[in-house]
Amino acid sequence: MKIIVVGLNHNTADVEVREKVAFNESRLEEGLRRFRELPEVEEAVILSTCNRVELYANVKDTVKASESIKTFLSEFHDINRASLDKALYIHDDVNAIRHIFRVASSLDSMVIGEPQILGQLKEAFEIALEKKMTGILLNRLMKKAISVAKRVRRETRIAENAVSISFAAVELAKKIFTDLSEKVFMLLGAGEMAELAARHLMRNGVKEVIVANRSYGRACELAKEFNGRPVKLDDFLQEMVRSDIVICSTGAPHYILLKDQMQRVMKDRKQRPVFLIDISVPRNIDPKINDLDNVYLYNIDDLQGIVDANMFERKKEAEKAEKIIEEEIEPFLKWLSSLDSVPTIVALREKAEEIKREEFEKLMNRFPDMEEGQKKAIEYMASAIMNKLIHPPTVALKEDPEDKDLMIAIIKKLYGIEEYEKEGK
């Protein structure tokens, strides 16, 4: 019983290799079945996302198993073995456990703390469970990994605070406004980044969208896409009076919104707060506008600064998460090593039960007229003696002594239970 991880991720393999090795939905089931059918493999789970492909297994022999898993991967995906070997990493035993815990907790992700990986891991496990590809070891390991990830998220702030510009913009908007769904949003100009931020904002729900662009045709196109209203760029100042959130990214080489203009807008707005996001380079909104009351102006560097600070914060939190994982590994290892003694404990109990049953039947044959009450009393006594006799060795096995293998061997020898265990398996 050994745990092994064979896999590759965004750090070890570039996208061409990852694409090839990925198990897409249609072939996942077949892949999982063939992986499980490898002679060395007793339990199997496959995690396949766009950033990583990992095969988790309970194997008899790590060296042989890793070899056959590699061969399987190269055959199944029809990929050159040498390029695969370069990309693959292999972890076994405690390192495998640590790796799985770290992956689940999103410490191994490209963006540390991103939340999707846990869901993907859960799904991978559920599929394997449903297809009966797992057993006692991987079931426990996967469940533990999920609970460790939850603990990490609960006890650290690893998944808090936005780490992308568009997320940061939405998060800020939520710190200014109570309810985005009653706010009017204006997209001023169109750039890739602006559209991305706009899309993210839309997903959080806004009341109304206005699109202004130098080319009116493009404004109409975008307005259609965002289910909004197109306006000419020259008219944007009037629309500012109604707009609560403005993302600005025109190609203009100068400021298109000046402080005194904004002052007039604010007067007309009755000072209702407004959130301006200027992601154009060079900037399109006069930075002095941020000095006005109830106007919150952020440019691309401000947002990037927030993202960097949040990323730094996440890395600090990741250190706490690593400690939690180390804490959780210990008891899992203990449980794992207790598995070694379980068959012996079971065999010991079975042997004792059998002796009791045989002796009791012999006695009954000899005294067939015995009363029911007496029978019960004798059986009770036999059980009590049996339990008392096997109690100390059972405890000794469960206690996880250092010379455990020796202990198991001695108990087997003393009680003559070698054959029982073989039959049991």
Partner: protein, 272 residues
Amino acid sequence: MGTILFALALIFYFAATIVSIIDLFKDKKIISHLMFSLIAVGFTLHTANIIYRYIAAGHIPITNFHESTSFFSWSIVLIFFILQFRYKVTILCSFVMPVVFVLMLSSSMLPQEIRPLSPVLQSYWLIIHTVVAFLGNAAFALAFGVGTMYLVQEHYVKSKHLGGRIFGKLPSLQTLDALNYELITLGFPLLTLAIITGSLWAESAWGSYWRWDPREVWSLTTWLIYAIVLHARLVAGWRGKRAAILSILGFLLILAAFFGIKVLRQGLHVFL
């Protein structure tokens, strides 16, 4: 008995204050729960203390400085609970409990014996006037807390230093501003009512509606300030930061009046 209840309430409020400050820096649900339980127990004991004194004295216990400060704190906690029920702004605790504790502590240092009330003052106006006045001032006290929260949050957003725990815990600027407005629109009519009932009472007790007593002057000043806050907001759009600053100033003025006049020991409101 009354003293013991008061002392216990004070201890619970003190514990709640400490926990509320810890709550600012820790993200544990259990801390907020503990904080609420402490406040709730403190408030219950405090209420019992007020009822006890009411029965012992035979009239509402707002007739000496100890009692009035204590009743003021009680009103603040009461309105805080109502607010919490409606808006769930847990973090408000951390800004309000320290004020409550300081008020209670000052109250505890004042003579607590129940003295007979002058027959002039024994009228139903006593209960109406004082309760309305204290509830109004309590609303302003909370507006002070909310205003402070607004300034802190506004500072974070304006200066672009985000990501701190307090920033994350504070509600949005719009929520804080709305809360501030709501508290002032609650406090203002209560204060107006307090001034009206006060002058009616003065007329029935001393035969004159208005005598330019220091407290009357201060109440009028406070009333004017909050009238300006509301007026500027509705007409000139003085919201957000300006509204927050004005409500902080307004409450500081109330506090100054409340304690300052006592130090001067003048006028008709000697028992306050």
